[in-house]
Symmetry: C2
Subunit: 410 residues, 2 copies
């Protein structure tokens, strides 16, 4: 089960400030793992508003169903997350677990269970015992604090090899607000939604519908631009909570110009977390950035970039440090999007390897190979058809991916 | 480069009869491989009619473009195939190679170059020297014979670990006709088209448009039902040739009832070859059959079955002999097709592991695990929504797949 920390893990961890209105604690409930925390309880001050984006799976987990329903009322008082068991495809038992857990947490916080947001990650199809989670709540509730965030990120890990945190600041009017986010996710990452679980907290005061618009826009080029294996979890959940404790003016109009800096900060935090997820792809040794330009539209560029990023043949070539642009052509061709073979150009790093539908006559295999030996691979594809542009993020496909997923019932 | 023969290779090779009107020879042109044949020349008697199905890639190889154009006139006098170089994404040089090769072969056979069908498989993006192929034609043409088919199948192999042949007989009216087919393909196999290259020959007399209808129908549940890695080649080509030398009555009406047995024989040959392709999936240790039933339509069942068959998490679980039905739920959910989590049932072999949206209470993990230890894995998914049913074929995803594709510039 224990895997060495990804060589692509960030070298430094940012200073994560407290977020006024947010306190949390972690606990070891022994759901599956031994000797580590597996429950995260986050208490949110009264008045906290919430937005969420969830898996597009037709078979979502019971907690996802629960959060979708709760989101309608726009208020949140707590988030309760467990790792080790996804409570997915658990039928009526799974629904009962969700209700019992929310009721237990609601009793502690003193709120309606609908204001408790739940997320579970881990094995699918095994019953999850609510009693194990509820049992640790009194002790956890007694230890609520405004840090350290890294412990919150650790408690929600499954096959992750490092905890993922990100932070940013922004001004709304004259007041500074903070954003702190955590994420977990390593395999089973694909767009719609990318990460299995991510939670972002801010002390800004933003009305839930506005918050939802900001979050839905932020995922497009962050979590939805990341793919590890093209698989989509039943549990993918991203929640954004705004406590309003900063004293900044409350924003209830999505067109309010004072949102500009906050929007940029939210985009930066979600992109940072999403890229960390790709960097922790199971067995990953190389971080891969695929940029498509000159497509007929952004949507077309995205589909082509995803076709490349999800191609097992491209991902194994990257693992083998092989500047195999023939496989890029293959992946562009199979995307089914407008592409003219004879206008295609392809770069690895700064080296153009193909142009006008054939090998670049000046192509230096040595330069391309040198780029492939690094741990940040940039693949650029120019279609020459229009203005559509997109970037996606993935990792290489290694023997370790197969070993991890062949040996672990996740 | 040399890999051990797949443990899933057929234990016996069928007796492959001669097909009247078809003669062939193989040669070693040294295109890429040393010490083996890499060119196949098949000469077809005058009057041979032809049908074809090709890759849906937007970046098809030069030979695919050539065949598509030639197909319009419906007649064929020869097929010339090389392995080692796909002549794909080779720009104007690639077109010149195709024209020079067809002209060279046409001169030998004494026909219009448009009646020469070409196929190339191997590395993408490297120029292919027509002279190397044309140089072996005189010697090959002098050795044309009606067998042995296994040598034809060997000459077109790339990463294949065994040659693929299949045969069947059928009656048209009172006359027996034969069908003989060969195929190559191991990685980069996905629907539309499945195999990289396959050629089927018969001595039936069938008008080209009727032949095309039969072939297009035959691929649906054979080559298009096979996936190894979800990638699609730039070169996928399936051609069906009918020499008319059997003396059977010529069929020129697709509704002719005398076609029934021939249709069944063609379906059997294409399914046999397609399954052999899945059995030779790069690094494959297990053959996997995914059946979806109770979907809202056959098309919906196909998309769900393909989502399961292409899922890296499902394929690695099979490699690990893990009866991980949670990953099946995940793959069903991500297909985006109508599915009701709470009606879903899943079997591994004869063991029902999940029913009514939860683990089957009577589920024997031992029985499911015993099935997973075999080399023919049957996954059955019942949706309980309608009458749509489909079966797809794939193989497991092993460390060897990564090794083969990380080390080999295919």
């Amino acid at each position: 089960m224990a895997h060495a920390v990804s060589p692509l893990a960030p070298k430094t961890v940012p200073d994560m400030p407290a977020v006024p209105g947010v306190r949390f604690a972690t606990a070891a409930a022994g759901i599956k793992y031994k000797g580590r925390t597996d429950v995260l309880l986050v208490a949110l001050d009264e008045g906290t508003e919430v937005a969420g984006v969830f898996t597009t799976s037709k078979c979502p987990s019971a907690p996802v169903d629960w959060c979708r329903r709760s989101l309608a009322q726009g208020r949140a008082r707590a988030v309760l997350v467990n790792s080790g068991n996804a409570n997915a495809f658990t039928g009526a038992k799974g629904v009962a677990t969700v209700e019992a857990t929310a009721a237990g947490a609601g009793a502690f916080v003193g709120c309606d269970p609908a204001e408790i947001f739940l997320a579970s990650t881990g094995v699918i199809g095994e019953p999850l015992d609510a009693a194990k989670i509820v049992a640790v709540l009194p002790e956890a509730a007694a230890r609520l604090a405004d840090g350290p965030w890294i412990e919150a990120a650790k408690a929600i890990m499954t096959t992750d090899t490092f905890p993922k945190v990100a932070t940013a600041k922004a001004r709304i009017g004259d007041t500074e607000v903070v954003l702190c986010g955590i994420a977990k996710g390593a395999g089973m990452i694909a767009p719609d939604m990318a990460t299995m679980l991510s939670f972002v907290f801010t002390d800004a005061a933003i009305a839930a519908p506005v918050l939802q618009g900001l979050l839905s826009a932020a995922v497009v080029d962050s979590f939805n631009a990341v793919t590890v294996d093209g698989d989509t979890s039943t549990s993918d959940t991203l929640l954004l909570f705004a406590t309003g404790k900063s004293g900044a003016p409350r924003i209830d109009d999505p067109a309010d110009p004072r949102l500009g800096a906050f929007r940029a900060a939210l985009d930066a935090v979600t992109l940072d977390l999403a890229r960390q997820v790709a960097r922790d792809g199971e067995g990953a040794r190389k971080f891969v950035e695929v940029t498509v330009e000159g497509a007929v539209s952004k949507a077309s560029a995205r589909r082509i970039a995803m076709s490349v990023a999800n191609s097992p043949l491209v991902k194994t070539a990257v693992a083998g440090e092989d500047a195999n642009w023939g496989r890029i052509v293959m992946a562009v061709g199979k995307a089914g999007e407008p592409a003219d073979r004879d206008r295609l150009a392809i770069w690895f790093g700064e080296t153009r390897v193909a142009v006008d539908g054939a090998r670049d006559p000046d192509y230096s295999e040595a330069a391309a190979s040198a780029h492939m030996q690094g741990d940040h691979i940039r693949i650029r594809i120019a279609l020459g058809l229009g203005e559509g542009r997109d970037t996606t993020y993935t990792c290489d496909l290694t023997k370790e991916y197969v070993a991890i997923n062949g040996d672990y019932r996740s």
